[in-house]
């Protein structure tokens, strides 16, 4: 007898991404890199990003360890962000943040695609930082923040 909230949090797609992360590994230099961690729980993510001459994200990869939510979010992020411009990536990130925090409607829900499955995190406020970990690292890599 599982609660619906828990089933929503751990949907099959999410578990699949956490078990078989896409775009796992490092990119060789030259590329942008950032490390993110959640000191309170020990989750870690490293993100490598290569931005092409046209300003688009040609490739990105990640390595990390942590809970299913942080790893699945990272894996899904790499799939979604590849090929996007920096501005497009920032827009997706902001929409994703709204979805997992329950902080208003996303500006472009369709653009989120599969990421919308992480909506279940809303019900688990302590897990928001897990879902956002890779995205904070991406922001840091792209904008040096």
């Amino acid at each position: 007898m599982l609660s619906d909230d828990l089933r929503d949090l751990y949907q099959q797609v999410i578990l699949d991404h956490s078990r078989n992360p896409r775009n796992s590994g490092e990119l060789p230099p030259p590329c942008l890199h950032a490390h993110g961690d959640n000191p309170s729980c020990g989750d870690e993510i490293d993100v490598w990003v290569r931005v092409g001459e046209n300003g688009h994200i040609d490739d990105l990869k990640f390595t990390g360890q942590g809970c299913a939510i942080s790893q699945a979010s990272a894996s899904m992020m790499t799939q979604k962000i590849k090929g996007k411009s920096k501005d497009e990536a920032a827009a997706v990130r902001e929409d994703f943040r709204r979805v997992v925090m329950g902080d208003g409607a996303p500006a472009n829900e369709d653009a989120l695609g599969e990421l919308i499955l992480l909506e279940g995190v809303q019900k688990f406020p302590q897990r928001v930082k897990c879902a956002m970990l890779a995205w904070r690292a991406l922001e840091q890599a792209l904008e040096g923040k």
Binding site: M1, L2, S3, D5, L6, L9, Y10, L15, S40, C41, G42, D43, E44, Q65, G66, C67, A68, I69, F124, R127, C130
Partner: protein, 405 residues
């Protein structure tokens, strides 16, 4: 022992969480409180509340009397020679910081060694790191073996005459290891070292006799042994306390004050500046009465049975790796890693079944690195837990395996 009746002393345990009966297995983080302690707190606030030691009115007299009675209880609880050796603190962490900032600053010099172990809680590590940085002393660690015990060969090499202080944990909060405290203290003392024993996980779980143990300092927290949060005890041998400078300055700790300078009271008041947590102290006294009525030996035996049964049953879960001693000689906790779920996912899953556990690094990051795990899940027990609850835990672990694989 009528354990079911004893369990019914804890009103909080009788509730449903997420549609399941609460199974509270996070006792190493904080224990629940019996009605006796809760009622003592409300009685104090409803009838006796006033500041201690200062006024001459009836309420202040009552508060002071109850406050000082709790100091006597705490002294008796750990076998101190005198209640003047009992300093009330906010908890274990503050007690250790007090020693580091008074005795430590006064006695530790460049070139000295501060010896700890690789299984210390951050609270018995960071204050010594800070002291070492301040003084130029060296911090050394006794390594932990694969079975979660201390490396006894390394102890022989590390315990030298350069060791000024040997501070170590009595029962590890992350492994459940019960360190041979008396033996280690005797070795350290023979070389002239001062010893501090971190009793956060042992006080309230087993009989403590500081004079038999031979330690110079012993620290513990009230909230892990049925008392209120925010209150703890630092025991120090009087000869050491008398020579120590104060830490916090303020009211209650002075003999006389002039604009040029002040003289300080004798211990324990020297170390208790400002209005203390009066209700907390009185509540701690009630917790000690409660535990002693059950009997610390009985609690220890029950703890031991629960931990043994849990070890046995949890070993049945495929993909489990239990950290710490594999024998039954361990504290009332089992920390483990599952190859199919991260601790936070497991804790979330267990919570949805009413089971409260803790997942993470348990404030022992160097130890997690040592065992090459990002963190563990910990089930920790107290005397009100039952065999049935451990069965529920195992059932939830098996369900989690189905869910996450």
């Amino acid at each position: 022992m009528d354990w079911p009746r004893i369990r019914s002393d804890f009103p909080i345990l009788d509730q449903q969480v997420n549609g399941f009966p609460l199974v509270y297995l996070d006792n190493a983080a904080s224990s629940q409180k019996p009605r006796a302690v809760i009622q003592t707190l409300s009685h104090y606030y409803e009838r006796d509340n006033a500041n201690v030691h200062r006024a001459l009115h009836e309420l202040s007299n009552r508060a002071t009397e109850a406050f000082e009675a709790a100091r006597k209880k705490a002294a008796h609880f750990i076998g101190a020679a005198s209640e003047d050796e009992i300093i009330f603190t906010r908890g274990t962490t503050e007690g250790i910081n007090l020693v580091a900032n008074t005795w430590g600053t006064q006695n530790v010099r460049a070139g000295d060694v501060i010896l700890v172990t690789g299984m210390e809680h951050h609270s018995n590590l960071i204050p010594w790191q800070m002291l070492a940085q301040r003084t130029g002393a060296t911090l050394k660690y006794i390594p932990v073996l694969d079975d979660g015990t201390l490396d006894s060969d390394a102890i022989e090499n590390l315990l030298t005459e350069q060791v000024k202080l040997f501070a170590f944990v009595h029962i590890s909060n992350s492994l459940g290891t019960i360190n041979p405290a008396k033996e280690l203290i005797a070795k350290a003392k023979a070389l002239g070292a001062v010893t501090l024993l971190d009793g956060a996980q042992s006080a309230g779980h087993m009989p403590i006799d500081v004079r038999d143990l031979g330690c110079d300092f012993f620290v513990f927290s009230g909230h892990k042994m049925c008392g209120p949060t925010g209150i703890g005890v630092l025991y120090g041998r009087m000869a050491l306390l008398e020579a120590m400078p104060p830490w916090h300055g303020g009211g209650e700790m002075i003999l006389s004050v002039t604009m040029e300078g002040s003289t300080y009271k004798a211990p324990p008041q020297r170390f208790e500046a400002g209005t203390p947590d009066i209700a907390g102290v009185i509540g701690l006294g009630a917790a000690i009465d409660y535990l002693q009525a059950i009997g610390l030996e009985n609690i220890q035996r029950h703890d031991h049975n629960l931990a043994n049964y849990a070890m046995q049953r949890m070993s049945e879960v495929p993909g489990i790796r239990i950290l710490g001693p594999q024998s039954g000689h361990r504290g009332a906790l089992v920390a483990f890693h599952l190859d199919f779920a991260h601790p936070h996912d497991l804790v979330e899953f267990a919570n949805s079944h009413g089971v409260a556990m803790r997942g993470g690094h348990h404030c022992t990051q160097p130890l997690m690195k040592r065992f090459k795990v990002p963190g563990t899940t910990r089930a920790s027990f107290y005397f009100y837990n039952t065999i049935e609850e451990i069965n529920s835990l195992v059932e939830v672990l098996l369900l989690a395996r189905k869910f996450f694989t």
